[in-house]
């Protein structure tokens, strides 16, 4: 997995609460059997005026001028500023894949849905939780200033604003280390294969019906 240490970039807004994964990447794009190529269809139903189909070339599609991320000033944004309960709904990992494919490395919101939050870490995308107030403040600044940028430092667990102000954020230590070092979680777990085997042996004695039923 790609490592994440610090990231400096342009901020883009997604100014509504409860953005669900259907909104992030509509279901028709889930038919792909690949991990990549979802970027052009991020927020598809909000971003374009027509209805998108998988495999379609998006470059000629009619753009929705009222969708904030389509505004020129947010071109190239790599930090998404969002509202509460971001990523609710389905477990599709296509949601972080689409955000990543678009070029986002960080999503900042007051809260995230659990599965989405978890899925971000598996894909080198950093979800940052700040308070409602801090996020509202950032939205104000973002709307006020053209070319608004932030620096997100994972090691220090801070979001740095211009002028040296900063907000701290919480993150689970295991997830932080995996991201910082770009670790392969499966490889890490498999290092514990002896412990897994031992668990299975003990469990098979206690609850034998758990094993062997499906053939």
């Amino acid at each position: 997995m790609r490592a994440f240490t610090t990231h400096h970039g342009l901020v883009g807004p997604m100014d509504r609460a409860n953005v669900d994964t259907d909104m992030i990447i509509p279901k028709q794009f889930l038919k792909s059997i690949k991990r990549s190529g979802f970027g052009p269809n991020l927020f598809d139903e909000l971003r374009y005026l027509d209805s998108g189909e998988p495999g379609q070339d998006c470059s000629g599609r009619p753009i929705n001028p009222n969708f904030a991320l389509n505004e020129k000033r947010y071109n190239g944004a790599s930090i998404l500023l969002a509202r509460s309960n971001f990523g609710c709904g389905s477990s599709r990992e296509h949601a972080p894949w689409a955000l990543d494919g678009y070029g986002f490395r960080v999503v900042i919101a007051p809260s995230f849905a659990d599965i989405f939050y978890n899925n971000c870490f598996k894909n080198g995308l950093l979800p940052v939780v700040l308070t409602e107030q801090q996020v509202s403040g950032l939205f104000d600044e973002l709307y006020r200033e053209q070319g608004y940028q932030l620096t997100v430092d994972l090691t220090e667990q801070t979001v740095l604003m211009a002028g040296g102000r900063s907000y701290g954020f919480e993150i689970d230590e295991f997830r932080k280390q995996c991201l910082l070092q770009g670790l392969d979680e499966i490889g890490l777990t498999l290092k514990q294969a002896p412990a897994i085997k031992r668990y299975e042996e003990q469990r098979a004695e206690r609850h034998p019906w758990v094993f062997g039923a499906i053939k």
Binding site: R16, A17, N18, D20, D22, M23, P26, K27, Q28, L30, K31, S32, I33, K34, R35, E45, S51, G55, S84, N85, C88, G89, S90, S91, R92, E93, P96, S111, A113, D114, I115, N118, N119, K122, N123, D172, E173, F174, Q177, E185, I186, T189, L190, Q192, A193, A195, I196, Y199, E200, R203, R206, H207, P208, W209, V210, F211, G212, A213, I214, K215
Partner: protein, 478 residues
């Protein structure tokens, strides 16, 4: 000192190791796989040169984007009209074949929506950890399991190691005492709960549903409730084991019999929260206060009693609430203050892992029997959740009841719950739906979903608009 919740017990029983960084390696007993969230996981295994850790834990079936049309289904995988869907279903077949994973293929007895087929085959048993690359995996918690949805990377992780790296959630208990009134179903209970705690109310928590109402409920009904825990923000919903649970699992295909049965039952009976168990959050509702529910907006928390009205803009407290309501009303094409029963429906969908079990089919058929869908309703889709539900319903003649009522009896799958196949709403169409999500575009671009129970959906089909099913129950035609 016995103060463990059901969740605590299930969690403790599955700890493989606790790591220094505070994370825990949890053992997974059952892994259910479908075509949409698995291809990239199998691909990952191949690239890394890994094999599944265990084979006898995995169970696969296609459900999300298969056709529900009889003729197309009869033509097999080649008959799936959309080429990308066809590739996905074929890829699942190929992957299962290649890795030696048990699969119930598209037209085989046993196939069905992952969360319908798992419990009905007895693949899901009390006390298990159950995962699937689908957020409605919480459904299986109805059997006293620790069950939750996972993403594709975790599908790969479970395939490769039979474990997940997890962090313990907090405990939340939702208690509903009393007994439900006529026409009030498990779906209404869970919608009322979501209405009360909101779609983020359960974030970070495992919810245990407890109290008289759930004790009295069948396992099918409990599954409907646990299914929608995720719509209340919780990855996990669960209900303690009791005799109802044990009667339900007994005799199912993958459930132990003979010598293993008695010790299994003895263990399963311990799967209840201790009397002094402590919950981080307690929520209490009373059965008397729960009426048939309908969602009017674009989030499951935008829900009201069928006799109520759509909320008014002027009644909103904060500007944020006001904008939220404005957006929802604009999308749904509704006016604040409008009676819920004045909403006309264009299509009706009876199905999905929330409400496609045999009981749901029976509840809908009881309303449809001897009546007809209103001519203004373009389509009424009745989609059984599995091959087994379909066979049972047909044995009871329910298919005829629906067909006689002008409704369509389809082949099992997810269908219009998420509209990945041809079963879709047109833009602007209102749908009375027994599924679980009313997000914008969920059932088709621009489609407008109203979540409700199977009986309420069947009643809406007959009336042509949303209607209080209790008006029908006094005059049920036998």
């Amino acid at each position: 000192m016995n103060k463990n919740t059901l969740y605590d017990k299930l969690w403790d029983a599955h700890i493989v190791s606790e790591r220094d960084d505070g994370s825990t390696l949890i053992y997974i007993d059952r892994h259910i796989i479908h075509e949409v969230t698995s291809p990239q996981a199998f691909e990952g295994l191949r690239i890394a040169g890994r094999k599944p850790w265990r084979l006898d834990t995995n169970l696969a079936t296609p459900d999300h984007n298969i056709s529900t049309d009889r003729i197309e289904r009869d033509a097999g995988v080649a008959g799936i009209p959309d080429p990308t869907s066809r590739i996905q279903v074929q890829t699942l077949d190929d992957n299962c074949e290649h890795f030696g994973i048990k699969e119930f293929k598209m037209n085989e007895m046993g196939q069905g929506i992952v969360h319908v087929m798992g419990p009905e085959l007895g693949a899901t048993m009390p006390g298990m950890t159950v995962v699937c690359g689908d957020s409605h995996t919480a459904t299986h918690g109805a059997l006293g399991c620790l069950a939750h949805g996972i993403g594709t990377s975790e599908v790969e992780h479970v395939l490769a190691s039979q474990c997940l790296v997890a962090k313990k959630m907090k405990n939340m208990r939702v208690t509903v005492d009393g007994s439900l009134g006529t026409g009030v179903t498990p779906k209404d209970v869970v919608l009322a709960i979501i209405g009360k705690i909101g779609t983020a109310g359960g974030n970070g928590h495992a919810i245990e549903f407890s109290g008289e109402v759930f004790r009295e409920m069948t396992v099918e009904g409990r599954m409907t409730v646990c299914n929608m825990a995720i719509e209340a923000g919780a990855r996990v919903g669960m209900i303690a084991v009791d005799d109802t649970t044990i009667d339900y699992v007994k005799g199912r295909q993958f459930v132990p019999s003979g010598e293993l049965w008695a010790p299994a039952v003895a263990y399963w009976k311990t799967l209840v929260s201790d009397a002094d168990a402590v919950f981080d959050i307690e929520v209490v509702l009373h059965a008397d206060d729960i009426a048939p529910q309908v969602t009017w907006g674009t989030s499951p928390e935008m829900v009201a009693e069928v006799t109520a009205r759509v909320p008014e803009l002027s009644a909103q407290k904060t500007p944020e609430q006001r904008t939220g309501l404005e957006n929802a009303l604009a999308y749904m094409g509704l006016e604040g203050g409008q009676a819920i029963t004045s909403i006309a429906v264009d299509r009706v969908f009876i199905g999905s892992c929330t409400n496609s079990r045999i009981e749901d089919m029976r509840a809908a058929a009881a309303i449809a029997r001897g009546r007809r869908a209103a001519p203004s309703v373009k389509q009424v889709l009745v989609v059984p959740g599995s091959q087994m539900v379909k066979a049972q319903a047909e044995a009871e003649g329910l298919d005829k009841v629906f067909i006689d009522a002008g409704m369509e009896w389809r082949e099992p799958g997810c269908s219009m719950c998420l509209a990945m196949n041809a079963d879709k709403l047109g833009s602007g169409e209102h749908c009375a739906s027994t599924s679980n999500r009313n997000f914008e575009g969920r059932q088709g671009n621009g489609g407008r979903t109203h979540l409700m129970s199977p009986a309420m959906a069947a009643a809406a089909a007959v009336a042509g608009h949303i209607v209080d099913v209790r008006e029908f129950l006094s005059e049920v035609v036998e």
